[in-house]
């Protein structure tokens, strides 16, 4: 995705860079906001992402396709941000450390699809911020940013299998949460009826 060729001249660099900004600022912002749940912080992260990429260009490097590169930089920044916060999500991370290879069912794309079909998209979206980041990350990348499993695996530096397992478990988690909510809602309604 990045190369040390120096075929493009300065103006070309600027034009391409600004075009990439116009094209991806919303997507990057969305991703950042869903991950950090803070609007201002998300804007800053997007800003930092672009300045870093610019510096990279300044150093004489070429970027062929901006999208994955931008995501990679943003992702690293978000991880840095988490480390800085050292929130409870660390516990979540520890808890999820050493994820097993997953069952056959979890590894299959079609089962994930089947699973997803049972979930209400709108409700699931609302519940994203209640998920541990490890799952939230892949779910966002897969369903919000619409990256393929291979792209995701390159981005987060995990194997494709791990990515698939995480997506599967993430979806399961979402379904459970939705079901729990539904149950609660039903109970609430029953109470009201009484």
């Amino acid at each position: 995705m990045a190369d040390v060729r120096k075929t493009h001249d300065t103006e070309d660099h600027e034009a391409r860079f600004l075009k990439a900004f116009d094209e991806y600022n919303d997507a990057l912002f969305r991703h950042a906001l869903l991950r950090v749940s803070n609007r201002e912080k998300a804007i800053d992260l997007v800003h930092d992402t672009f300045t870093k990429v610019w510096a990279y260009l300044r150093s004489g490097y070429e970027i062929d396709t901006f999208r994955p590169f931008l995501y990679k930089v943003l992702n690293n920044l978000i991880i840095d941000e988490y480390r800085r916060r050292k929130e409870s999500s660390l516990d979540a991370l520890l808890e999820l450390e050493g994820v097993d290879e997953g069952s056959f069912e979890e590894l299959s794309e079609s089962t994930s699809e089947a699973l997803a079909a049972t979930i209400d998209g709108k409700k699931a979206f609302e519940l994203l911020d209640q998920m541990p980041d490890q799952y939230r990350e892949v779910i966002i990348l897969r369903f919000v940013d619409q990256l393929g499993p291979r792209e995701i695996s390159e981005l987060i530096e995990e194997s494709e299998n791990v990515v698939s397992v995480r997506i599967h478990r993430g979806l399961k988690m979402l379904r459970q949460k939705i079901e729990a909510l539904d149950e609660q809602g039903e109970q609430n309604r029953k109470k009201k009826k009484k």
Binding site: N25, H47, W54, A55, A117, K122, F125, F143
Partner: protein
């Protein structure tokens, strides 16, 4: 799946930057880009990939210079400044860019290393000689402007005053030494003045001459004071310190003169080498004479030694700028002192010359007018009287020379009368009798005029 994915995505799409937020962000990034423009391709190629990986964004990039390299570079620089530049500067003359380094750094540093009045006097005298040598060098290259000449004259004056000041300081401690130093200074000035006149630097020559005469006047006072103090000393315990001191200084100077001769690297065949060695022989002989005289007449011995001191001093100054002084005949500055044998032979040849010329003249008397005849007769008479033996060989020689001059004048009168004296018997034309430079040449001249 489709349903979920679509729903999810549609929902997500609602999350976006507001227009003003986007504008603001874009402006921030564009500003950043303007402040950190992309380097030109040539510069960019210099970028080191390893540093690039750090995604450095600083406006100021640090360049690492190893401390050892820095240290070495500064050491070399200091070395240049403190060693090489002064060494090069040492050869500079007024008008060169490094001349200031020579005069205001090299010489001042060396001067500050001179402790004690005596060393200081020596050093200031050396500086004086240097200035004069520079002037001569410039004059020989035709680069001596009046401005530079004035500058050098001022420097000479300054150094002289410095020496005189130190002499005064020294006088308090050691009057004898002070007098000796004073003599050395005036002889130095005398010689330099003469050599400058020779090399055609009139302004400077006059200036140095003035300083020299001032100093000579001072010298007279010094000598009087010195002799007074010596006499007092004699009254006290009958001991004469001055003789030993003069002797010590003479020996010191002689040694230095010999060293200088060795360092000049002159060829044995060189006339200058012969001249100089001859002067040194003279000096040695004079010292021996003074030693011999001492028992009989201490004051005379001291006088003789002082004369020797002057000669050695002149010789040293002459030799220390041999290239500049080559133009001046050594004879004019330091005349030869003849040995007793030489005096005898010179006298003998002079006497025979007088006899020969007298004969020619007496033959010519009848042929000239009355007035001329009288003059010639007087000259012959004078020559006859003066050739009577004197107590001192040197006095006889002086008298003989005077007679010869007289006779030569008479010969000129004869030839002006139109009388042909070349046909007369003892043919050879009048031979100018001059003190010759070496003993061997003296013998040659003596051999030739025999009739």
């Amino acid at each position: 799946m489709k349903r979920f994915s679509e729903q999810f995505h549609t929902k997500a799409k609602t999350v976006k930057l507001q227009a003003f937020e986007r504008e603001e962000l874009r402006a921030r990034i564009v500003t950043y880009m303007e402040y950190h423009p992309i380097q030109k391709p040539a510069e960019a190629s210099l970028a080191v990939p390893s540093r690039v990986k750090l995604l450095q964004t600083d406006a100021f990039q640090s360049i690492q210079i190893p401390a050892s390299l820095l240290f070495r570079a500064s050491a070399i620089f200091t070395m240049m400044l403190l060693v090489i530049v002064p060494v090069i500067a040492e050869r500079s003359v007024p008008g060169d860019s490094l001349y200031a380094v020579k005069v205001q750094f090299n010489e001042e540093v060396r001067g500050s290393l001179a402790f004690g009045s005596y060393e200081k006097i020596e050093w200031e005298t050396e500086r004086l000689n240097r200035r004069v040598a520079e002037a001569k060098l410039l004059a020989s290259e035709g680069r001596l402007t009046e401005e530079v000449e004035m500058e050098i004259a001022a420097a000479v004056k300054e150094h002289t005053q410095e020496v005189q000041k130190e002499i005064e300081v020294l006088r308090v401690e050691d009057a004898d030494q002070a007098t000796l130093a004073s003599i050395e200074l005036s002889t130095t000035l005398e010689l330099q003045s003469a050599s400058l006149q020779e090399s055609g630097t009139t302004v400077l020559a006059t200036a140095v001459g003035e300083v020299a005469s001032e100093n000579t006047a001072q010298l007279v006072v010094d000598v009087i004071n010195e002799s007074l103090s010596t006499q007092e000393a004699q009254h006290d315990d009958g001991h004469v310190p001055a003789y030993d001191k003069i002797m010590a200084r003479v020996e010191q100077n002689t040694t230095r003169a010999y060293e200088l001769v060795g360092s000049l690297g002159l060829e044995q065949e060189d006339q200058l080498y012969k001249d100089i060695t001859r002067r040194l022989e003279d000096v040695n002989r004079s010292i021996e004479t003074a030693k011999g005289v001492r028992d009989k007449d201490e004051t005379l011995a001291k006088e003789q030694l002082l004369a020797v001191l002057e000669r050695t001093q002149k010789l040293i100054v002459y030799m220390s700028d041999i290239d500049g002084n080559r133009a001046i005949a050594l004879e004019t500055v330091i005349p030869i002192i003849l040995t007793p044998e030489e005096q005898q032979s010179e006298l003998a040849s002079a006497v025979s010359e007088i006899a020969r010329k007298s004969e020619i003249l007496s033959l010519a008397i009848p042929k000239v007018s009355v007035g001329a005849a009288e003059k010639i007769a007087f000259a012959i008479d004078f020559a006859a009287k003066s050739s009577e033996p004197k107590a001192d060989a040197s006095q006889s020689l002086a008298a003989a020379k005077e007679s010869l001059a007289m006779l030569d004048d008479a010969l000129k009168i004869v030839s002006s009368e139109g009388v042909d004296i070349t046909t007369t018997p003892s043919v050879p034309a009048p031979v100018e009798l001059e003190a010759t430079t070496t003993a061997s040449t003296t013998l040659e001249t003596e051999a030739t005029p025999a009739p």
